[in-house]
Symmetry: C2
Subunit: 259 residues, 2 copies
């Protein structure tokens, strides 16, 4: 059966997350239902990352095996037609070798966290950002974030429910910048622990408010204790941005700030 | 009674437009209700522009007279507290002289129209953009749009229901640019006719598709006949961006692309 790689964008708000659940509609179920309507077969769609309820994606990557070899653009358009009216869209489809696996072949994952940092709550971006009314120092946040870069035991930033075999991960990059009224936190790693980006963001917010120093962040990391970290930032500010693979078949970055 | 100028952002989706209507919730009613809850008085909130149902605002300007002289930041925060859970937010409040009138003092209004121009429908920006799947030539659209700049009879781009005394207006600027997957249409004038921006946008889309030339746009304008223009673009791509006043008290531009 021919295998297709799908780049998927979604609004996580109405879903219980990527993964199929008994008690709610998941993005996976929406996409699998679209595949079934299109090809009249039951299919499993495997994704690079199992985003939580409320977390958005601009460049989730998935793969699926179809019973026929349609041109990739036809696959994209057909799935999009069957995905309506869900806020899920296949941005691109590509034919790939059968050894491509969206999750296990992934070499690097990138996330964006958007904080709206102004006195007034969001109107147009409600459900799309974390609103923090107190002024945050983005430079201090960026500086403190550098204490997290590298190969570490990230237990301090790991959710209890995390199923990863090891809490040791390598954070390749973390960048905090102010973009108008927003603060953007960009993270890049081979893989992340459950809630890692949200827990790092909630901790760096304390730095942005001047309550924590870079040394406090380094101490929290060294403690290897979730209780030593800051609170978990809410899901609606988080975007699964892109996934890179060892071959040339990398996904384009979809930056919400340049459209 | 002290007068306050309010810069207001809203998601037009759930509303029947700015202006109070018998058959639906308007943004005006939402703001006036917040004023009443805050100050225990009936108040009329006057806006610079009466946006249609579904049209958004990043910088609508309104004024209201309050029965007491609270600091502007307190007015902003109190109105925002009472505006919940509506997707309407007061971005800034300012104390102004009693001769300031949001509508009649306005010297210039700016609108942004966002077209999502890619094969895949919007997911995260559903209700925020006009999705046009066919590739559009933004440069050709920009060039043709220049035929509309200046002092003209804009009957071709005027809704039947328009209440303006005259169809003659001066369009100061129109700029069409590609921003990633989007095409942005920026317009600036002292005032606009009802549906003028949406009708110009629907016409310029024909140019972007290669079906119309710049000369066709000029002919349509010269016809002074709505039937000679292109179709009306839908409301959800339109943003009331900013209003400028003769004094130094201009509003900041809130560009969604830079946050």
């Amino acid at each position: 059966m021919p295998r297709y790689k799908l780049i998927i964008e979604y609004d996580g708000g109405p879903f219980c997350g990527w993964q199929r659940q008994a008690n709610g509609l998941s993005v996976q179920e929406a996409v699998e239902t679209a595949v079934t309507r299109y090809c009249q077969v039951e299919a499993v769609v495997h994704a690079a990352g199992r985003t939580d309820s409320g977390v958005h994606a601009l460049g989730q990557v998935a793969h699926v095996d179809l019973p026929r070899s349609d041109p990739p653009d036809k696959v994209r358009d057909a799935l999009n037609a069957h995905l309506r009216p869900h806020p899920v869209t296949v941005v691109r489809a590509e034919a790939v070798d059968e050894d491509f696996h969206a999750r296990f072949s992934a070499r690097e994952r990138s996330y964006l966290y958007r904080i709206l940092n102004r006195r007034s709550p969001p109107a147009l971006d409600a459900g799309r950002v974390w609103w923090v009314g107190a002024a945050l120092d983005a430079e201090a946040m960026h500086d403190a974030a550098q204490a997290l870069v590298g190969h570490h035991d990230f237990t301090t930033f790991r959710a209890k429910e995390c199923q990863s075999q090891s809490p040791v991960k390598t954070l390749d990059e973390i960048r905090v910048t102010r973009v108008g009224e927003e603060i953007h936190l960009f993270c890049r790693a081979r893989s992340f622990l459950h809630h890692q980006v949200r827990n790092m963001t909630g901790t760096l917010r304390l730095v942005g408010e001047g309550r924590w120093s870079r040394a406090d962040v380094a101490c929290a990391l060294a403690a290897r204790d979730r209780a030593a970290g800051g609170p978990t930032a809410p899901p609606q500010g988080l975007y699964f941005l892109r996934v890179d693979y060892p071959t040339a078949a990398t996904t384009e970055e979809h930056d919400p700030c340049t459209g």
